[in-house]
């Protein structure tokens, strides 16, 4: 199993770079994963990552795209409540890349 090194700790990740043990997550893990994907995490990214983690804690699944865009619209304004905005932040897709940074499992299926 592959690992990534964060603040001196070796964290296990799967073939696709997702955490093997979700409990291993702490904020620097997200920063490191983003660095690997060449994404520079700013406040806008953290808003999303924090929302994903909160939602996951309640429902054990990443939020649907619509749930996420609505939450973003509510919090950050209507002009940001769309997939385009999320794709700008997470070029490989909010559903997958943002989940990875947030330490969530990868959404599978026909998505």
């Amino acid at each position: 199993m592959a690992t990534i090194s964060v603040e001196g700790k070796e964290i296990e990740v799967d073939e696709e770079g997702y955490l093997v043990n979700l409990a291993d997550w702490f904020p620097a893990v997200a920063t490191e994963m983003a660095k690997i994907d060449e994404v520079d995490l700013g406040d806008d990214h953290w808003d999303i990552i924090n929302f994903l983690r909160e939602y996951y804690e309640e429902y054990q699944i990443a939020p649907a795209v619509r749930v996420l865009t609505k939450a973003v619209a509510k919090k950050l304004g209507k002009e940001k409540g769309n997939s385009k905005y999320l794709y700008e932040l997470f070029p490989y897709g909010p559903g997958k890349q943002a989940c990875k940074f947030a330490g969530l499992p990868k959404p599978t299926g026909c998505v």
């Binding site: 699944i61 649907a64 749930v67 997939s83 299926g109």
Partner: protein, 515 residues
């Protein structure tokens, strides 16, 4: 974007020049025991793998006489060679359907034919080695089981069945694909491909109810686990999660509400998809199908209606009764099962739905026939219904419609590039390259006829296009659900949209459907 080159649009769709081994490699991520054992597979290569592989081949040859015929009857005419989107997009000669089949055929000859047993060199028979197994794994995951090649095969060889058999043999020696098996395991554990638990699903559906009521003023219900309603809706879990899928789901809800058909989804069977088909496993396909039967009985419904999911409709239309029947407890006056498009189309024919096409006037649509619907099922009561009904519904909802080139639609449709268990990030290069012929046909109608958007009735197609359209210079949201168009155009009784069109006072009997 990943590190490969997106194929260039070709001026003419000529037979591509071959590039041997262009797609050689290890294939997609291999599954692990943690996913496999629940599906009845060992999860790792057993010591006697060779014997087990050949035993399985013998078993499948006996069980599916078709496979035996396909192994024996290829005449190497070459008709299939340039029909595969993966060959067209990758130039790898092993992606010619005949060559991909021959990876199995040469092993079949060695162990199951007289000539191959005694004169292997003369008939191109080879020993089963680990390298052969690896090559199978790689190339049988470069086939989306779309069956376009089979349409052109004079012997009627069904490449998809060969691929399915190969995958089934591989899985029996611990060489299954992670993507498909992880998903099937989630279906067993949680109820759907996504792993969407009941409470999350409930939350999403409640949000939709709120949203639809806000938009229309009509309290359309999106029930979960509601007993005693008329219909069980079986739809891909992507419809609860992804875009544009969810816009289609909103549309189904509006149509069913307007027709007075009460319905529910089931948290236990919250998935129409059946990846058992993709991995060629009858046992898993059956186990997945049984959930539908059980949910229908538990919820005491009279009808089962399927949403927009391509291979689910193949399994439902062609196999469900065998896998999970008899459905004698359902209302026999309706098709068992029924497609949501049949419901919508039927209602349009009877003048029971009012659509305001002008809502979609900013769009010029085309339609992508999904392979499993086009080549492995039917809709309605006429041959070709699976081609005509979706088009009729789109045209009832939108004034502007143009078909793509006739060589690329209906029974000759090109796969989106992501079907059959290929819709995974580790196969992105294959997906993008395999999308080439569909993208070329789309580009033609965008340039010649001003097409703005493409609609589909399959969750895989929709997700695949969302990802691959941008590689070819299109917007990711150019892909739409068919019922998304219906959703935009529908004028429900008592809705804000009706008031806007007719004035505030509603009269009885004003519902005149548009032609």
């Amino acid at each position: 974007m990943a590190d490969f080159e997106t194929p260039k649009f070709r001026e003419y769709p000529v037979v591509p020049q071959i590039k041997p081994d262009a797609m050689a490699g290890d294939g997609p991520f291999v599954s692990r025991a943690e996913f496999d054992t629940d599906l009845g597979y060992p999860g790792e290569l057993p010591e006697n793998w060779k014997e087990k592989t050949l035993d399985k081949m013998q078993d499948l040859l006996g069980r599916y006489r078709s496979l035996q015929v396909f192994m024996d009857s290829c005449i190497k005419c070459g008709a299939c060679t340039d029909k595969c989107h993966y060959f067209i997009g990758t130039n790898d000669p092993k992606n010619m359907p005949v060559a991909r089949q021959d990876l199995m055929r040469k092993v079949y000859r060695r162990y199951f034919t007289f000539a191959g047993k005694y004169f292997p060199g003369l008939v191109g028979a080879v020993d089963l080695t680990e390298d052969v197994l690896k090559e199978w794994y790689n190339y049988y995951h470069q086939c989306s089981e779309c069956r376009r090649c089979s349409v052109f095969c004079p012997m009627g060889i069904d490449t998809a069945e060969v691929t399915m058999a190969a995958r089934e043999m591989l899985a029996h020696v611990g060489y299954a694909q992670k993507y498909s098996n992880q998903i099937i395991q989630k279906v067993y554990k949680i109820g759907n491909n996504l792993g969407l638990p009941g409470p999350a699903l409930k939350g999403i559906l409640e949000d939709l109810e709120e949203e639809v009521e806000e938009d229309t003023g009509v309290p359309v219900k999106y029930h979960m686990d509601k007993e005693g309603v008329e219909a069980l809706l079986m739809t891909p879990s992507a419809d609860f999660f992804a875009e544009p899928h969810i816009d289609g789901l909103i549309g189904y809800g509006k149509v069913l509400h307007e027709l007075g058909i009460t319905w529910t989804v089931s948290s236990k069977a919250s998935e129409a998809a059946n990846f058992g088909l993709f991995i060629g496993s009858y046992d898993n396909m059956q186990r997945i199908s049984m959930r539908i039967r059980e949910a229908a009985i538990e919820l005491k419904v009279k009808r089962i209606i399927f949403g927009e999911c391509g291979h689910a409709w193949r399994v439902a239309y062609s196999f469900l009764n065998t896998l999970a029947g008899p459905f004698d407890f359902l209302d026999q006056n309706y098709p068992i099962p029924q497609h949501i498009l049949e419901v919508t189309y039927g209602a349009l024919q009877e003048g029971k739905l009012r659509l305001n096409k002008e809502e979609n006037d900013h769009l010029t649509m085309t339609f992508h026939d999904s392979c499993n619907v086009a080549r492995a099922s039917r809709m309605g009561n006429k041959p070709g219904g699976q081609f005509d009904i979706p088009r009729a519904v789109i045209q009832a909802a939108c004034n502007n419609y143009v078909d793509m080139d006739s060589d690329t639609i209906k029974d000759a449709t090109f796969c989106c590039g992501g079907g059959g268990g290929i819709l995974t990030d580790d196969l992105m290069e294959l997906r993008v390259k395999g999308a080439l012929p569909r993208m070329e046909a789309l580009r033609q109608v965008t340039e010649e006829s001003g097409v703005t958007n493409i609609a589909a009735i399959c969750a895989i197609c929709k997700s695949q296009f969302t990802k691959t359209l941008p590689y070819y210079g299109f917007e990711m949201d150019a892909i739409m659900s068919v019922h998304q168009l219906v959703s935009e155009a529908i004028v429900m009784t008592g809705s804000e949209q009706e008031k806007e069109l007719d004035g505030v006072e509603d009269e009885e009997g004003t519902k005149e459907p548009e032609e």
